[in-house]
Amino acid sequence: MKGSSKAKENLGWVFLLGLGLGLLIWDSAAAQAPIKVGASISVTGTYAKLGGYTRDGYLMCAKEINDKGGLLGRKLEFVIYDDRSETTTAIKLYEKLITEDKVELVMGPYSSPITNAASTVSEKYKKIMVASLAATTSIWERGFKYLFMTISPAEVYMEGLVELAAERGLKTIAVINEDTLFSKAAASGTIDLAKKKAMKVVMHDAYPKGTTDFSGLLIRMKALNPDVIVAGSYFDDAVATTRQMKELDVNPKMFGVTVGGDVPDFGKQLGKTAEYVYGSTQWSDDVKYPGAREFTENYKKMFNREFSYHAPAAYGACQVFAEAIRRAKSLDSDKIREQLLKLKITTAFGDYQVDERGFQTAHKMVLLQWQEGKRVTVWPASLAEAKPLYPTPPWSQRK
């Protein structure tokens, strides 16, 4: 009897030792295992172009952090899936990332509509989502606790264009937009800004996502002959609208697009047709934020191509997130949240500060114009490289 109880006791010790060893091994493995950061990005579909830059920004950020020794002593590793530019796919992917892949952190996808949908999943699992590329105010009016905005809201995208137009005494404006979350907000924001400057909105119409033929809209617009035309667009529709304006000989004094005009491919696809078009951007090469120039150099080194603001935006958001984690010294959502709410920093992408909703209040927009095949910053005056070429000459008088 005695022997057997002794044996039991021994067995108990062995068990404890094993457990301890196991824990030790598990713990040190965990210390070395990378922090998995999940995100869905539009690699295919209508947002593919811009989604690609978003992914580049994340990867650059992770590489830089890892080169400097990682975050909380661990490497960052992005797990990125393709949401095909579809909100429903993005929702499924964030579910999968959080529940199956067990990523410890998530980052936002590309575009407002997709962030709007995907954030319902991250909020459900109490994961912080730093939304690197969602600019629609209404997303932050749903009372979500764990969602943070890093870029300027859609409503002010065309602030520069409206201001330049008002300075030049222009009176009428026509606005069209893709019928999705961000574009709608950008259009209605532009309309509010224009009304404040006593401009008359002569037309406002929305078109469904995926529209390729804008003839009907443009014929009506041509008849109204507005001084300013603003398209609340993404890339493909911005290209198509510009090209078809030329085909239908629509001649505003100023024409601006919210998204798309700042993408290098806009000029590549349209050639001379892109001249004089205004585009708005969250960031440009000539901003003077710390690390901005290095970002441009490193990007070209790493990917060997040009980029639009989406890359530094994703990069900056990831840096903001990393800084908050460093200060929180933990991956705990509530601790990071506390830091994100009071954080006030300037990354290569610009200023970051949010209000109690997580809504961005510090970041600034830039207006650019295509001049001789290049994107030139024309507003705000403090950053402007050149004066806007005004007015936009009619198509028939161009070479």
Partner: protein, 291 residues
């Protein structure tokens, strides 16, 4: 915001609509041929169109070839692709229940589109060849659209000439009218199937080439044309080839006018409403087709 529609705008709407319609007619003719001869609804028709567009894009981007000249390559190229598809897969579902052909061609469509995405990425590309327009009073005639329209008309005319005059063309029509009877009369219907699919794919590819000078080229560009072609066939009457031609023009016209009078969102719905109406009122098509 209501806008007064002037005569000039109306004329512009009609012109824009007809220009688009010519292209629909040509692309739909291919789909109608396949349906007529084989009773196969070719959902992959749009993907073939996409391949034609890429052929033109690459010839233009790499060799600077005139996109309209590249029709001489995209048509035979897609003809061969069509023949291969028919030979390998589609012959299995000829005269089978519609569901089989839908499933098969849907699979082909997804497969090719995804291969294109892998090979060429999802980037939007454009053939920046002709831009701008001819101005005729209040009307702007878009250069790329006008020229594409002329080519589409010309090629559709040639296709009709082929169907009506040549021996093979007559055999195609005979097969489409009565498969068994045609076979009894000594027509090799298997061979006719091959030629038909090749011809249809060639027409789709040509359509792609012509679309590429107007709109962006990307792997999923063909999808809307599948629906439009289907609508055109229903409009014109299944199996009725001249019907496909007029159906195309009508669809273009309706779209052009709808986008003028209605908001852009509503005008997208018009095509669907048209489809439902035709199916309710005249299910055999405007120019009575074979039921």
């Amino acid at each position: 915001m209501p806008i007064e529609i002037t005569g000039g705008m109306l004329l512009q709407g009609v012109v824009s609509g007809l220009l688009a319609g010519g292209l629909y007619a040509m692309v739909a003719l291919g789909m109608a041929l396949i349906f007529g001869v084989m009773r196969v609804i070719n959902v992959a028709h749009g993907t073939l169109l996409m391949l034609g567009a890429y052929a033109t894009y690459w010839l233009f981007a790499l060799y600077g070839m005139n996109p309209f000249l590249s029709l001489l390559i995209s048509f035979p190229l897609l003809f061969v692709v069509g023949v291969i598809l028919q030979r390998l897969f589609v012959y299995r579902v000829v005269d089978a229940p519609e569901l089989s052909s839908l499933l098969l061609t849907f699979w082909i469509s997804i497969f090719i589109a995804n291969m294109a995405m892998v090979a060429w990425t999802a980037d939007y590309r454009s053939v920046e060849f002709l831009t701008g327009s001819f101005l005729l009073g209040p009307i702007a005639l878009s250069k790329p659209r006008l020229i594409s329209f002329c080519f589409a008309l010309g090629i559709t005319y040639l296709a009709f000439l082929f169907l009506n005059k040549s021996k093979t063309g007559k055999a195609i029509r005979a097969t489409s009218q009565h498969r068994e009877l045609a076979q009894v009369c000594g027509i090799n219907v298997r061979r006719i199937d091959l030629i038909t699919f090749g011809l249809a794919a060639g027409l789709a590819g040509t359509g792609g080439s012509l679309v590429s000078v107007m709109f962006s080229v990307f792997p999923e560009m063909g999808q809307i044309y599948v629906f439009k072609s289907f609508l055109v066939i229903v409009l014109g009457g299944a199996g009725n080839y001249p019907g496909a031609f007029f159906g195309g023009l009508i669809l273009g016209l309706v779209e052009g006018l709808a986008s003028l009078y209605l908001s852009a969102q509503l005008s997208e719905v018009i095509a669907y409403i048209l489809l439902v109406l035709i199916l309710l009122v005249r299910p055999t098509g405007l120019l009575r087709g074979r039921s």
